[in-house]
């Protein structure tokens, strides 16, 4: 019964996210005019709220945080990305990055629901507050990267529109370059800092419990690679301040590398049921 409620709440939030995406797309077709952006953002906010409820229900039902096991982890990651989207409200028109962020959330939550938002029986070396902090900071890092990717994608599109001297619906819908650049930078810096802290915490506790770091563990491999991607993107941005489009492309490609490597590791290396 409890499990049904968790699924039901996930399903409702998923419907709200899909509704939000539909309204974003309609808004794009209309060039961002009218109340559609506000409605889409409202639906996404409601989806996040229900999503929070779903994961609270999970925690109460199973007496554990939704941070282990692929279903709960992906759902939590989707929620963190959703919360990051809500944060874009301070950037005004910048909240339109929702048109890129929402599909990512939908994809993650759908996979989570399909694979099962149920507790994993993964044997952990350590649990407790430090572990939760480690995972949550890693999720915030990935959320920041997703936000940076979304803003950078729109930046590249808007730059193309400006350079090709087109002022169509895409141009009208897409937020100003300066706003997108700011969102991308905030997402990336926040993401890098929290992800680095997550890795340091992970390294420290693994060394404490196991005395050594298993470098062939897919989680470790992916985390280290992700950190280097983060670092590379930040470096590119800082070295090419005169050419912000290069920084935007770096964010887009960095995100793609992280996602592709995750999928590759899951398919070829990882064990079923684990986050990685």
């Amino acid at each position: 019964m409890q499990s049904t409620e968790v699924y039901l709440a996930h399903f409702v939030s998923l419907i709200l996210y899909i509704g939000s995406l539909i309204v974003w797309l309609r808004s794009l077709v209309k060039g961002g005019r009218g109340s559609d952006p506000a409605v889409a953002f409202g639906l996404a906010s409601l989806g996040v709220l229900i999503h929070v409820y779903a994961l609270i229900l999970f925690t109460y039902s199973y007496h554990q945080l939704p941070l282990t096991g692929i279903g709960p982890s992906l759902s939590s990651l989707a929620l963190v990305i959703g919360l990051a989207l809500l944060g874009t409200i301070v950037f005004g028109e910048g909240r339109r990055v929702g048109i890129v962020v929402i599909p990512v959330i939908i994809l993650l939550e759908t996979v989570a629901v399909v694979l099962g938002v149920e507790p994993s029986f993964e044997v952990m070396d350590f649990q407790g507050a430090w572990f939760s902090l480690h995972v949550m900071m890693a999720f915030v890092g990935l959320g920041g990267m997703t936000l940076s990717f979304a803003a950078s994608s729109l930046y590249v599109i808007q730059l193309g529109e400006l350079n090709n001297k087109r002022m169509g619906r895409l141009f009208q819908f897409t937020p100003p370059l300066v706003t997108l650049d700011r969102i991308s930078r905030v997402g990336l810096v926040t993401g890098f800092v929290t992800f680095t802290l997550a890795l340091v915490l992970g390294w420290f506790w693994t060394i404490s419990f196991r005395q050594s770091l298993d470098q062939l563990n897919p989680k470790v491999m992916w985390s280290i690679m992700t950190w280097f991607v983060f670092f590379g993107v930040l470096l590119t941005r800082n070295l090419s301040r005169m050419k912000p489009q290069r920084g935007a492309w770096a964010s887009v490609l960095g995100f793609a590398v992280i996602v592709m490597s995750y999928i590759a590791l899951r398919i070829f290396v990882s064990t079923r049921g684990f986050f990685l």
Partner: protein
């Protein structure tokens, strides 16, 4: 038939020299409408007077010739014109008048197709007359409904179609580009090279969006100072132009120099390397002031006059592509205005029908009270109540069907049948007959 007519003159029918003769101030508009109401059969009226059009919307409760009165009123206003006034005036009546107002409000009849300002002007004209403190109101149910629906139609067309989308002038395209690059224009510095009229329009448009500083550079410092003072800006000597370029976020070039003022090399020298912040350059000069290669520099967005014109043309083309959808919305709205107008016609018939049946009910109750003189008062009340209920029940179905029939466009036939079957007089024809009788009497005198 909708008892509305419009007579007007617009940019499509008359040049500005003629249009200004038809222009009304608020006081003049009110005075004319009051005079039309007092001395002709007009019951309601609104005057829309803008730079590009003057239109007189009138409505009458009877059959008098609305258009003739309105035309005469406008002719009096314009006075004598070479070749006569008729050649400049257009007029529509009934559904066409309603359709015309809907098109005007949506901007489909505007000089700049789809512009939004007209919506506000229609609202202002309507509110002026509606809120005027004349002894009798100049706007009644019909024009109230017509103007409110026109404003709703205008809003709907703008939100459901791209009719108002995309900038439609060089100045607004420039302001739109600046907004999409910098977000807001607050804390942005604009620099003008030269002092052309288009550059002035662009600066005006940007100033409305709150730029923080304006620099004006011209070969003649006096001209630069004059323009700078108009916009509370700062004049910069032409020789110092390259130094000021570093400060600028937006550069508007519109000199009449016969050669390129800013070459790629000169631009790089002026900046002393690459720019970190974006620079929007609008080269409105002919020949161009800025070398095209400057547009290839990082963080530089260069648009020349052809680019801007092309964007304007594209936007106008997009706006015009929405005409079929806009017309569908207008047709739908005209049709629902017509339906509403037809329901107005049945109100007096239903009222008369009810009164006639109620009178008959009272007559029958009088007869009954005489037959039953000992009937106590409380029982009389019960019987009276029952009679009312019975009449309401009996009339409910026919009245509902009558309303539906009118809604389906069979209004005239159904109303005629009800009048005939229930012996209800048509007040309009009755008054027409009365006036005919009067005239016959007058002749015989």
């Amino acid at each position: 038939m909708i008892p509305v007519a419009v007579v007007g003159v617009s940019h499509k029918t008359a040049p500005v020299g003629v249009r200004e003769r038809f222009s009304f101030t608020n006081a003049e508009a009110l005075a004319l409408l009051e005079s039309l109401r007092d001395y002709s059969g007009m019951t309601e009226g609104v005057i829309l007077s803008t730079c590009h059009r003057t239109e007189l919307y009138v409505c009458s409760g009877s059959d008098f010739d609305l258009i003739d009165s309105a035309v005469s009123a406008l002719k009096r206003k314009a006075g004598d014109l070479v070749g006569g006034t008729d050649q400049y005036l257009y007029h529509y009546s009934g559904m066409q008048a309603a359709e015309h107002l809907y098109k005007v409000t949506a901007g489909l009849e505007s000089l700049v197709f789809g512009e939004a300002e007209i919506q506000g002007q229609v609202k202002e004209a309507y509110n002026l007359i509606r809120n005027s403190s004349t002894d009798r109101p100049l706007v009644g149910p019909i024009l109230n409904r017509l103007f409110q629906s026109a404003l709703a139609v205008g809003g709907r067309i703008r939100s459901e179609t791209p009719v108002g989308q995309g900038a439609a002038s060089v100045a607004s395209v420039a302001a739109g580009l600046a907004r999409k690059i910098f977000g807001g224009l607050e804390n942005r510095t604009v620099m003008i090279l030269g002092a052309g009229s288009t550059a002035e329009l662009v600066v005006e448009s940007m100033e409305r969006n709150g730029i923080s500083e304006l620099l004006v550079s011209n070969r003649c410092l006096g001209h630069a100072q004059k323009l700078a003072s108009r916009f509370s800006g700062r004049a910069v000597h032409f020789t110092e132009m390259s130094f000021s370029l570093k400060e600028a976020d937006i550069l508007v070039a519109s000199t009449s120099a016969p050669y390129t003022l800013v070459t790629l090399e000169g631009f790089r020298d002026a900046l002393g390397g690459f720019r970190e912040k974006p620079l929007l350059i609008l080269d409105l000069a002919m020949p161009r002031d800025i070398e095209a290669e400057v547009g290839g520099e990082p963080n530089v967005f260069l648009y020349n006059v052809d680019d801007l014109k092309e964007i304007v043309d594209d936007n106008l083309l997009n706006r015009k592509a929405s005409i079929p959808v806009a017309h569908d919305i207008i047709n739908e709205s005209v049709s629902s205005f017509l339906d509403w107008n037809q329901t107005l016609e049945i109100v007096p018939v239903i009222k008369d029908l009810r009164e006639s049946w109620d009178q008959e009910r009272k007559n029958q109750l009088e007869w009954l009270w005489k037959k039953l003189p000992d009937l106590p008062e409380d029982e009389k009340e019960v019987v009276s109540g029952f009679s009312k209920r019975l009449i309401n029940k009996l009339l409910h179905e026919p009245v509902s069907r009558l309303k539906k029939g009118v809604g389906n466009g069979k209004g005239e036939d159904f109303l005629e049948a009800v009048r005939y079957l229930h012996d209800i007089q048509d007040l309009a024809s009755e008054s027409a007959e009365d006036s005919e009788d009067d005239s016959v009497l007058g002749h015989s005198d």
